[in-house]
């Protein structure tokens, strides 16, 4: 992944999706025959595309990495090039190929590809898996189909135009003769594959796989307990490792009771390791620590609990959430450090406004808390190479970090992507990979590194906290005429911390005549990074709640105010492309479409008839090219905690839902993920370290709190875009807006149950 791709992950384009990438004219397929007489189709990317897309700068491997292989028995093996983290790409990408290849899904086997430049970009992030691959994968399948038809026509010596393919068979229409793909594979392997841009794709009406409910390709194996996840990897002669790091970020080892640890049962090695750079903690690289390698993980873990390490003092006074809150309150009183955007004259517009509102909003740091703790298996070979098995979202970045840190040639790092027990952005970082590789290199063996849950909580790249001081002026009609946000956020290494920025074009910028976004910065020693819908997962709560406040203050229906602000359906100017994606124009008609749909499905216009104490709240958010509106119906339990009755989501991600099963799962999962964040989730910093260390203090949503989530897709005539992230943000403000409607109490600080939770409060 190059820096353009990385920017997609960190700061997903806010005004974005569409005519997605086509494979460059210079990308081409080659065909070859397998030992068993099957057909192998291999995709070759032009050098430029490789440089841009391929993670590790290593040469195409000598192994064959076919996209498609067709065996003589008709079984089609399709490589799934991207990591599988629960987003469903291992199912979706092969569906795209299989549709155009015209084979029966039951005869398709999806196989996880390794990291290899031949596949182009291989990562899971930014909800770009579908928009980047939608056309290219179909083209690969269609090219294969065309070759099989040609092989049949040659066999029968008939014109191409008289032949057709379906369900893994080529038919000669006039004679009714048919040959299965498996039989044709060897002959097709001798043909020259067509230019990818020359192939014709199907009419969507003829789809037999795309758009059909398709279960995950590995689900049955997961339920059989097969070894699929990173934590399950077993390689010969493997030992188990743990790695203890400083509780305060950036701390270095002064000394440790290494000799004592080495003498413990089962321990094979224990040593102090040095971090790679002073700011490695912030950059999620290799940091100082103590490694313990043992015959079993439990032996290593027991030894770790006996470790006594002295860490260096910190260079700055110890940081804390409480101090951040005080600092933010102080900064909000003064002039902002910088102006991000200024339209019109906000002060003058406020002076003329019929009504002025002020409100401050804040949200906390959050941890990713993937249910599979960070882990990685690495095998250091005598020739200096390292083979890695990792549950990673970003294998290329991981390989580069390993090569750089260990001082080895990038070509000597081989990465297997395992299934990952959740990603949510955590596994875009590669800290666990470099730790495992370092321990393998130092001990010259194969090791499986596994973090315990507390380490996982204490060494994350957290979703940054943030503070907003809003001021708005309303006209007599209730419509906002002035809007100001003084955003207090965090800085690291002289720039805004990762995923802690406010985009200049964030709504309502461009829709309110006088508007100012300004920013002030607090220095931060805690690492931050992208978490599912970076930016949006925090900003939506603040902005869409304040918009709701404006509607109530102006006596307007929150739905009507949004429709009015976005205005009549129109397409705004197209921004430039980003990271290989052509960015489609922003279409206010699509905003209107999902708002009206969710209102209709939820019975929004009849909400005043709800019993006293029950309310409905609405929010809309555009992110990752997706348009999503959500309504929450909620009341309050006798103990003051919210009770969510039901959630409705209306989603516009274009004209085609590739896999409805996966698509509904992503929306339901994202909505409930956001609900849990709003209700419970909180990471606090005290004395420079993270307080919460396990699920007893970090309250992920549970079954008894999960309401029904009704999902509706609005199929608009636009290219299909991604769904891992866009459905998350609206639920947070929609819930808070519902609670306001139910109780008259406005929630301006998350999480809602901060006072009710038995975790630490600040």
């Amino acid at each position: 992944m190059n820096s353009d791709d990385a920017s997609l992950l960190r700061d997903p384009p806010r005004s974005a999706p569409s005519p997605p990438a086509r494979l460059s004219r210079r990308a081409f397929l080659t065909a070859s025959v397998t030992a068993g007489g099957g057909l192998l189709l291999t995709l070759h990317l032009p050098a430029a595309a490789r440089a841009a897309g391929a993670p590790a700068g290593r040469p195409a491997s000598a192994e064959i990495n076919p996209f498609i292989s067709i065996a003589p028995d008709g079984i089609v093996t399709i490589m799934a090039k991207n990591p599988e983290i629960g987003q469903g790409m291992k199912t979706t990408l092969p569906m795209l190929i299989a549709e155009e290849l015209d084979v029966e899904w039951k005869n398709v086997r999806a196989k996880q590809a390794m990291l290899d430049p031949i596949y182009g970009p291989q990562f899971a992030g930014g909800s770009v898996g579908t928009p980047l691959n939608w056309i290219p994968m179909q083209q690969v399948g269609a090219a294969g189909r065309q070759m099989l038809i040609e092989a049949a026509a040659r066999t029968w010596n008939v014109p191409l135009a008289e032949c057709d393919a379906a369900k893994g068979l080529v038919r000669h229409r006039p004679s009714g003769r048919a040959l299965p793909y498996g039989t044709l594979a060897r002959k097709a392997a001798a043909l020259t594959p067509p230019e990818l841009d020359s192939v014709t794709l199907k009419n969507p009406r003829d789809y037999t796989i795309i758009g059909k409910f398709t279960g995950g390709v590995d689900s049955a194996r997961v339920l059989d307990g097969d070894r699929l996840f990173g934590i399950d990897v077993i390689v010969p002669e493997m030992s188990y490792a743990v790695y203890e790091k400083a509780p305060v970020f950036g701390g270095r080892v002064v000394r440790a009771n290494i000799e004592e640890i080495r003498a413990l049962p089962g321990v094979r090695a224990a040593f102090i390791a040095r971090g790679s750079a002073p700011d490695a903690a912030i950059e999620m690289g290799l940091v100082d620590g103590v490694a313990i390698v043992a015959d079993r993980w439990w032996d290593a873990e027991k030894a770790r609990r006996k470790l006594r390490v002295e860490w260096t003092a910190q260079h700055r006074p110890r940081q804390s959430t409480q101090a951040f809150e005080q600092e933010a309150a102080r900064l909000m009183q003064g002039a902002a450090h910088s102006i991000l955007r200024r339209d019109g004259d906000v002060d003058a517009a406020l002076a003329r406004a019929a009504k002025v509102l002020k409100a401050s909003y804040s949200y906390p740091f959050l941890a990713h808390a993937t249910l599979e703790p960070q882990n990685c298996t690495a095998h250091a070979k005598p020739d200096g190479s390292v083979e890695i098995w990792a549950p990673t979202q970003n294998p290329g970045a991981g390989a580069r970090l390993v090569a750089r840190t260990l001082g080895i040639d990038p070509g000597k790092v081989k990465v297997h992507m395992t299934r990952a027990g959740g990603g949510f952005g955590r596994r875009l970082q590669s800290d666990f990979m470099v730790e495992a590789a370092m321990i393998a290199q130092r001990t010259g063996r194969a090791v499986k590194l596994l973090w315990d849950r507390t380490q996982d909580f204490h060494h994350d790249a957290y979703r940054p906290a943030g503070f907003h001081a809003f001021t708005a002026g309303l006209a007599a009609s209730g419509k906002p005429v002035a809007f100001r946000d003084h955003f207090v956020t965090f800085a690291q290494n002289g720039r805004v911390a990762s995923s802690a920025n406010l985009p200049r074009d964030h709504f309502p910028a461009g829709y309110v005549p006088s508007l100012e976004f300004s920013q002030s910065l607090i220095q931060l020693d805690v690492p931050t990074g992208p978490m599912r819908n970076p930016g949006g997962n925090a900003l939506a709560f603040a902005f869409e709640s304040f918009i709701d406040e404006l509607a109530h203050a102006g006596g307007l229906d929150p739905l009507a105010l949004r429709l009015d602000l976005y205005g009549p359906p129109r397409v705004l100017p197209t921004p430039p492309s980003q990271g290989g994606l052509r960015i489609p124009p922003f279409d206010t008609g699509r905003v209107r479409g999902v708002l009206e749909l969710v209102a209709r499905k939820s019975g929004w216009s009849r909400r005043t008839a709800l019993p006293a104490g029950t309310g409905m709240g609405l929010a809309f958010y555009y992110s990752h090219f997706g348009y999503v509106a959500e309504v929450v119906k909620a009341s309050v339990n006798p103990d003051g905690t919210p009770r969510v009755h039901k959630i409705w989501a209306a989603v516009d991600i274009g004209r085609q839902i590739v896999n409805p099963a996966g698509a509904y799962n992503q929306v339901q999962g994202a909505v409930l993920d956001g609900l849990g964040q709003a209700l419970h989730l909180l990471i606090t910093v005290e004395n420079g370290r993270i307080v919460q260390g396990n699920f007893d203090t970090y309250h992920l949503l549970r079954m008894d709190e999960a309401p029904p989530v009704e999902v509706h897709f609005l199929l608009s005539d636009n290219e299909p875009t991604g769904l891992g992230e866009p459905a998350l943000p609206p639920v947070l403000p929609a819930l808070c807006n519902a609670l306001f409607a139910a109780t008259g109490t406005r929630i301006r600080s998350l999480p809602i149950n901060r006072l009710h939770s038995h975790g630490t409060t600040t």
Partner: protein
């Protein structure tokens, strides 16, 4: 210490310290890696196994406490009628996302149904709230339990496209 335990109907002899959690005996000694590690403190349910049919958290069950109890893990649950039905309902509804919690979910759901073949929503809440799903597949877990029980599931995917 040497322990003889019964796992999925098979006698297994393991050499282990008395305080080693059953989870690590299963995963690292017996290489039954289907049972997952999530928290180590009985808060997430990823490590749920059955001891004599009762769901137990393997991460806090020392090997010395297992005794003669019959241990069933995700690798063996499909051999029981309820286990088979639960797994097939899970696949029919495409319950999982990342799948990491699902071994534990299936073990808890199977134990629930074996005891209570017609669970109410409240029963499901009670039996399943010890199992965290970070991907939040709860709506479909509920529906799949009802499907396995032969109860109307009230499909959670409202499939009408506009």
């Amino acid at each position: 210490m040497r322990y003889t335990i019964r796992v999925n109907g098979r006698r297994r002899v393991v050499e282990s310290d008395a305080d080693t959690p059953l989870l690590w005996v299963l995963r690292d000694d017996l290489r039954l890696t289907g049972t997952k590690f999530g928290c180590g403190i009985a808060y997430c349910g990823a490590c749920t196994v059955h001891l004599d049919g009762v769901p137990a958290r393997a991460c806090v069950t020392p090997i010395s406490a297992v005794g003669t109890a019959a241990i069933v893990t995700i690798e063996g649950i499909g051999r029981s009628e309820w286990g088979r039905r639960v797994k097939s309902a899970w696949l029919d509804l495409d319950v999982m996302q990342c799948g990491y919690c699902q071994a534990g979910q299936v073990m808890s759901a199977t134990a629930l149904l074996a005891k209570n073949p017609r669970p109410t929503d409240a029963d499901i809440d009670e039996a399943m709230s010890n199992n965290i799903c970070r991907c939040c597949t709860y709506t479909r877990i509920r529906a799949a339990i009802k499907r396995a029980a032969g109860l109307p599931a009230g499909d959670t995917r409202e499939a009408d496209h506009e």
